[in-house]
């Protein structure tokens, strides 16, 4: 079959970008009010950390943070800052918000990317294997382990992995993103970071790996029962090629959809993984911002996260058309 040639879907893109921008604005506004519902403010959080504070100090802090302004003008100030791409200065963290976020972003993207790759590849390999040996022992083992992983809290898995692989076996470091005592540069540093990445990426991927295995297995079983597979098998195509080349291409569409919607979950899951492994990413920054009520920082992170999710979903929709040329982009 020849691929269907068509023009680049500009209209589709324009529409999606407009929707995306609107969605981000709505998300920002809803989040603003949601976060304002949390009791206490940044001044109280800072004073709480300090252990003591007098009323003048708290009033000074509130004025600095703009917390003495009416609620709606705080919201307006935030939206204006967003629109002008100026995220402002965090008096809680003593740094520009954009610097705070973008210095932590690469760590999270690296972790998220590695976790997604592990989950997708693992999901496909184990899912296809399980489907090929449906109801025989490899399938039983894979399905049982997948169920077990699905039901285990990632936080606990992370700690157990540290105990086993880092403390007992000594194969990996316990935490952090690099060995800060070694002062590695260049290639050594890349190897070092990769070494540190193994456990957190595995820990974060495991829950999704379990889902993807089940998803691919179910999809494969469905496709493998279709007529064209029987035809292909009759033509003498090897089972391996049949599975990966003919069946998988059709079975993988649901997986792509789910991965796209999971990007947001991966960002959310980063909070736990980054805490357990002391990974210096945005997830922990978000966590700290919440507990310190740095709402401007937190909102900025949330808006950026929503941007990522929107972009990821757009990419998934475009991928559809590539994987399955009969899908039309409207």
């Amino acid at each position: 079959m020849k691929p269907i040639r068509r023009r680049f879907p500009w209209a589709f893109l324009a529409k999606r970008v407009a929707y995306g921008a609107l969605a981000m604005l709505v998300i920002a506004i809803i989040n603003f009010f949601l976060l304002k519902l949390a009791p206490g403010d940044a001044a109280e959080a800072l004073a709480g950390q300090a252990g003591t504070a007098d009323p003048v100090y708290i009033a000074q802090l509130r004025a600095q943070f703009g917390l003495d302004q009416p609620l709606l003008s705080q919201l307006w100030a935030f939206v204006v800052r967003l629109a002008t791409l100026d995220l402002g200065y965090s008096y809680v963290f003593n740094e520009r918000v954009s610097v705070l976020i973008f210095s932590r972003m690469p760590a999270t993207l690296m972790l998220m990317g590695a976790a997604i790759v592990i989950a997708v590849i693992g999901g496909i390999v184990f899912g296809v294997t399980a489907a090929r040996y449906a109801n025989r022992w490899p399938d039983r083992v894979i399905s049982f382990v997948a169920l077990l992983l699905y039901g285990t809290p990632p936080y606990w898995i992370g700690l157990m992995m540290i105990l086993i692989f880092a403390v007992t076996l000594g194969w990996t470091p316990t935490s952090g993103m690099e060995n800060v005592l070694a002062f590695n540069t260049g290639w050594d540093r890349v190897v070092d970071i990769a070494h540190h990445l193994i456990l957190p990426a595995l820990a974060q991927s495991i829950f999704y790996l379990a889902i993807y295995i089940r998803l691919v297995r179910a999809g494969m079983l469905e496709v493998l029962s279709l007529d064209f597979i029987r035809v292909a098998r009759a033509k003498g195509i090897s089972e391996r090629r049949l599975s990966y080349r003919h069946a998988l291409r059709n079975a993988v569409l649901p997986l792509v959809t789910v991965v796209g919607t999971n990007v947001g979950n991966f960002l959310g899951g980063a909070v736990l993984t980054e805490t357990v492994f002391s990974w210096p990413g945005v997830g922990r920054l978000m966590f700290d911002a919440m507990f310190q009520r740095d709402l401007n920082l937190l909102l900025s992170i949330l808006v950026l996260s929503s941007f990522f999710v929107i972009v990821a979903n757009l990419v998934v929709d475009l991928l559809y058309a590539i994987i399955n040329p009969t899908v039309e982009l409207k």
Binding site: G40, T52, G176, V180, A182, T275, S278, P280
Partner: protein, 538 residues
């Protein structure tokens, strides 16, 4: 410089030797871990949570004081019995009338940028920074009206009234001296030096990778003889207590303080030959766990009820169940670690549920059909799991005397808003620091004039006693140590008679170090010390 544990007299390879030592267990596989570290004299410690700034003049959160204290110094330092010792000031004299303190400053001290440290810096730091922007500087330095600088190495603090507590608040991490030439004429709150301090301390700021680590390097011009002994101090940020324990186990961390690991693992580290555990280092801080009542509650307003709650607590059992033995029970609001003020001669309340039941019966609270007399809410901040265990423990104790306890665990801003902003609580449990002087740390909880709705960590109970106010006010300006002690003895007796606050225990926050680290608790401020003498042995 420190040496590696490898000695040429051993025919053992370095790797084999490290493998044999517990600290090198995980590090032996690859060139990660402490091997390189010790050769270059780099020590890794950790701080929790991540500090928000590097300078403690504007933010006195615990992790900020730990980091700041390595780079910025104060006029004084303190020894284990909390008497002042020289730091940036080599000598000091309090005038007989208590209205001035003359400090003789150390000569030849340079800021990290090479400028000389002089009395002008002291004047500027106290009057323009600490009194204006320090979270508690306005109250600790309230009586300081001026700082006179007759010459470059003399600073005279003029006081409006005697301030005996002031001498306990001049450490580097509490009242750091800042360079006037860096701060003057700038927006001090946004000054870049707040994140990259220019100080006089043994360590110089190098980098801060947020979320990961802070690197400080040795100050080559430090005034301390032969100090600092390390070339580098790496301060890692490891957020999870179990992960910190794992990092210590794996040799990726040489030092951690302020109770860094889950309390149920401390014993294991104490028993291990690879680690040293020190229980000292909190004498400057003296954080106390106390239950603050809300006297606006109709039940708690009755003294018999508060006495009954004291009798209902099985504090001996609490010591092992809640604290795993890492605490000292309090007899009153002042801990035994402050011998200059402490007295055991106070009304005491033993564990006696029968007595508690009698008191509650006498107060007119009969048990209902469910065996309960009334219910109370206990709110505690989510800081570690000690308070969760404590809440569950108290719930059982109080149930035995017919008081139903509802437990509320809240994050810090929520807790502060409920307890201090809205007085919306019945009982609350949180750590409160006495510091080294009761006027600084304790007066705020019992003094009726300290109460100020919306201000955290002051009198929230609604307690008002003219006698108590008078004792505390007199003690805050009494220059004679003996007379001042007598006032604080009366304070402790009255506090335990009126019971607006139920003292429980002084938790011990341990400091843990690898076996080859020395001087990691050099003074009463524990890991807040400047660490000029911190070193690897061998």
């Amino acid at each position: 410089m420190t040496k590696t544990p490898t000695s040429s007299t051993f025919a053992m390879s370095r790797r084999a030797l490290l493998l044999a030592s517990g600290a090198g267990l995980a590090a032996s596989v690859l060139p990660f871990g402490p091997l390189k570290a010790q050769q270059s004299g780099t020590l890794a410690m950790c701080v929790t949570p991540e500090p928000n700034a590097m300078c403690a003049a504007f933010n006195t959160a615990s992790p900020v004081t730990v980091v700041s204290g390595k780079m910025l110094e104060g006029l004084l330092s303190y020894d284990f019995d909390v008497s002042p010792t020289p730091a940036l000031a080599t000598a000091w004299e309090v005038a007989e009338d208590g209205l001035s303190i003359t400090f003789t400053l150390r000569e030849g001290v340079m800021w990290h940028d090479g400028q000389p440290f002089t009395s002008a810096d002291v004047q500027y730091s106290i009057m323009e920074i600490l009194k204006q922007h320090h979270p508690r500087g306005r109250s600790t330095l309230a009586s300081v009206t001026a700082v006179e600088t007759p010459d470059a190495h003399t600073a005279i603090l003029r006081l409006s009234q005697p301030a005996p507590a002031l001498m306990y608040a001049l450490s580097g991490w509490e009242s750091p001296m800042l360079p006037k030439h860096v701060y003057e004429g700038t927006d001090v709150l946004q000054n870049p030096a707040n994140n990259a301090p220019v100080g006089t301390g043994p360590f110089v700021f190098q980098t801060w990778e947020r979320g990961s680590h802070i690197i400080l390097t040795a100050n080559p011009n430090y005034w301390g003889e032969g100090e600092p002994k390390l070339e580098r101090l790496v301060i890692r940020i490891i957020t999870d207590p179990s992960a910190r324990a794992a990092a210590l186990d794996a040799g990726e961390l040489h030092l951690a303080g302020d109770g860094p690991i889950p309390v149920n693992q401390v014993q294991r580290f104490m028993d291990s030959p690879d680690f040293q555990v020190d229980t000292r280092g909190t004498e400057m801080n003296n954080s106390l766990d106390m239950i603050h009542t809300n006297l606006r509650n109709e039940h708690l307003a009755k003294l018999e009820v508060r006495q009954a709650l004291m009798h209902a607590m099985n504090r001996e059992a609490m010591l092992s169940v809640v604290y795993y033995g890492l605490a000292e029970l309090l007899t009153g609001p002042i801990p035994e670690t402050l011998p200059n003020f402490y007295t055991a001669d106070v009304p005491s309340y033993d564990y006696n549920p029968d007595r508690a039941n009698e008191l509650l019966d006498a107060a007119g609270y009969a048990r209902g059909a469910d065996g309960m007399r009334f219910s109370l809410r206990l709110i505690a901040p989510t800081v570690g799991d000690t308070y969760d265990r404590m809440g569950q423990f108290l719930k059982q104790n109080f149930r035995d005397v017919g008081v139903d306890l509802e437990l509320i665990s809240a994050d810090i801003p929520t807790f502060i808003r409920s307890v201090f902003g809205e007085y919306d609580y019945d009982l609350t449990l949180y750590p409160g620091s006495v510091t080294a002087d009761p006027t600084i740390g304790l007066q705020r909880f019992w003094w009726s004039k300290a109460a100020s709705q919306g201000t955290p960590f002051v009198n929230s109970t609604g307690y008002e006693s003219a006698e108590m106010d008078q004792i505390l006010e007199e003690a805050s300006v009494e220059p004679d140590p003996e007379a001042r002690r007598d006032l604080f003895v009366r304070f402790q007796q009255l506090a335990m008679t009126d019971l607006p606050i139920l003292p429980v225990a002084r938790p011990i926050y341990v400091t843990i170090a690898a076996a080859n680290v020395e001087n990691f608790v050099p003074g009463p401020d524990g890991i807040r010390a400047p660490y000029g003498s911190l070193a690897f042995t061998g």
